[in-house]
Amino acid sequence: MMESGTQVTCRYAGTDFDATYITDRDGMAVIKLNNGYNIGVDPACLTVVAPAEAVKGVGMVVKQDTSLPQLSIISTGGTIASRVDYRTGAVTSQFTADDIMRAIPGLADIAQFRSDVLATILSENMTPAIWQTLATSICDEIKNGAEGVMVTHGTDTLAYSAAVISFMLDTPVPVVFVGSQRSADRPSSDNVMNGLASAAAATSDLGEVAVVMHSSTNDDTCAIHRATRVRKMHTSRRDAFRSIGMAPVGSVAYPSLDVTLSKDAVRRRPDTEPVLSARLEEKVGLVTFYPGMNPDVIHAFEGYRGLVVSGTGLGHTSALVIEALRSLTDAGTVVVMTSQCLNGRVCDRVYDTGRDLLAAGVLEGENMLPEVAYVKLMWVLGQTNDTEEAARLMATPLRGEFGRCSDNGF
């Protein structure tokens, strides 16, 4: 197979076209004509003219202003910066501080940056092991003087990661998760605004783990969401991330980058060391109940130390499933009930079904999001082997993951 970038001529439609070979696809050779267009042709029509030229490095030098706050950017694979090679059409994600600062020039006016590329994965391939590395790495950065940490992350599982880090790391400085919903190569991408806003939030008075993303389809404001209250609520829109059950803890205006924090936002605690408790129990599951569910689905979690159920309404399942859950709790599995309504609190004391669930040993997950309850249970069971203690921790708000009182919506 030819190397991408090889100069070729292509005999096509009675003419010899000069072109650049790009790749093979579905048995065709994809070439880029001199007018910029790619077309797929029979590989037999190509003649090599010259080998691919080596890609030149980027000349622009990045200057860091040492009088600005020190921030760290930790990459897990989500792209907030990319570069397009118009010669071959290749889009490459950018992860080093220099590359990101080149792609988002405004960053250099906000802070000085160092970077750490932790992983380059699609966010759906995230694992508890990477979460542990990530928590450790963030902790190290803070201990080494970072006044704030930005974590770039694919948006699919960004909320899970942000929530689990909240439990694993008690941070005195802002730890801001950020991503982009629209690819960073496009001039309309939300990457620049989200990147600048998250850097602004990371230098602010915030002192907790947060997610900073567009708050509407307009390029005017980013919301600062508490990591344990945020959820991706749209497949593709810029404003997919929404705080559930509480208002965002702050906002960043664009292009001014003025940060506003609500009274609920946890504040920065200078001279406080971060506390890391990185152990996670991996034998924890999350399952959505649906009408007609075969109890075998629940039995599949036998041997698990924890299971979060996303039930209907106030937190219900069918009678058959209750029996299956009882056999799990009898065997020592901690079972926590949440609601697929996402909004509102679980209450298993209103209907018989709920009372039966409580009798079966199922814990009420208050108004925790199912995913948050899942990562919290992993963390709680990583901290204790005692079921009673686990139940107590699950019923205690540790990182603002639920409120004693439900937000009245006004």
Partner: protein, 611 residues
Amino acid sequence: MDFDYAALGLKAGIEIHQQLDTAEKLFCHCPTVLRDVEEHNGEFFRYLRATVSEMGEIDRAAREEMMVMRPFSYYAYDTTCLVENDEEPPAPLNPEALELSLTIAKMMGMTPVEQVHVMRKLVIDGSNTSGFQRTGLVALNGTLPTGERIESICLEEEAAQRIKDQLFSLDRLGIPLAEITTAPDMHTPEAVKSVAAYIGMLLRSTMQVKRGIGTIRQDVNVSIAEGARVEIKGVQELRLIDEVVRREVQRQVNLVAIKDKLLARNASVDEGSHDVTALFKETGSSILKRAKAIHAVCLRGFDGLVGCEIQPGRRLGSEMSDYARKCGVGGLFHTDELPAYGVTEDEVAALREAVGAGPNDCVVLVADTKKKVICAIGQIRRRAEMAFLGVPEETRKMLEEGSSAYMRPLPGAARMYPETDVLPVTVTNAYYDALVLPELLTDKAGRYVQETGLDASLARQMVYSRRCGLFEEAVGRGVKSALAAHTLLGTLKELSRDGADIAAVPGEALIDLLVRVETGTVAKEAIPPVIRALSKGVDLGVAISAVAPSVSREEVRAIICAAIAEREEFVREQGMRAVGPLMGVVMKELRGRADGKVISELLKEEVGKVV
């Protein structure tokens, strides 16, 4: 203004952009309808930024668009979706649009691309919410009957319509466009016009392209041997296309002449600029008096050239002004046109002194905020430097009547990369071979003349009409071609001019009406009032009996007899000469409810009896 185009080495090519009349847009399932901006049901705004390329460079056209960073606003409608908002990945390439573009390709003898790849073409002027236009090359290498080569056809998405300044309307974004590019094979303005007209006819022959102003746009590439390639965008009217070419040749000839003068004068552009704000503290020019900063640059040896006309209504100064506007300033002043606009002779003298300008020099000044002024002076110096090379390569936009203004540099070739969200589409030989070609409108007009005896000029009008299908149907049902053509072209146009809503007239009713006239059950004179009734939603039967209840021969005879009786003396005096005036009286009475031929026949009979 007439040039020896062969001696000048004129080369021109065109790019035709034709909106396709498909049911859905190119990359989403929204309808391809244009809306009234008043009907928008949402609005949002965004910034666009050019991405850094592999070489660490931003495309030169993109860089200029970015000089002033400001948000673009968009109007959304209940006929647009998240794809137009750049909030959802595109749907697969619309197969109807692909088939149509390949049909057009086949009509020009082109070779289809084996596998069509959709690209993202960088466009950051706000007209595409994404910052790029999706486009795919579908066919290569065709020829017109007159020998000009067609280089390519691309299928691309239409841009959003600019309402004003930074505000765009999303209804148009995503309508499929066929972009047809010719080789630079035309060597006279007239050849450009006839090629554009031929391709336009070919496109209309498909009967599946949008019609009306703005649905077809021509970009013209023009160069002369001593000049440079200039692309003039947005020629919406065919009648102006040759004039656009003539005026661009004129512009290039004049810019080359200015270059020669500058070199002969050993002219130069001053490195620095001067802050002359203080000079205009007490000026009578309100623009200058209001300005926070006024900067000036001296162009040595340019005296008289900046004000030199290069095209009707355009001077070298207008070109500099276009460049300066990219920085957000309103325009510029130069000493070739001063004193004027409230600037006195003394102020001009002071200005010349302040920048050290001699009598052969021209001073250009800009007034605005300091930041914009510094940017604008840089742009003016840049354009002044280009004058030494003659004609800069540029993308320009057409102005009214055929002159043009600078828009942006010609884009570099390398501003495209793959649209990874759209899968490539394979075009097989079997698929391409099976495409059925429509009859060319010119062939169809010839056929009408031959088969139906229609007059050649009416035939040409008929094939270009939206009602061509109705014509064929009417003639197929026995209506004489002349009656059908006159009604469908002339009568409808007249009624429309008088305010009738012709679009509301059902085609089927029109044909029925024509058939009834042809068979003599409805009088020809009744056609206009019946159509007017149809346009108000009245049923054909009801319309005919209301406007023109059929009148029997005997009833007509009775009306004639009554008319004669009333004027008996007159009729006896005039004899058969009375038939003419009586005809008018009776026709008025019957208001088209009877055929003129019948009236005339009976009238002669009855008058004969009296005489």
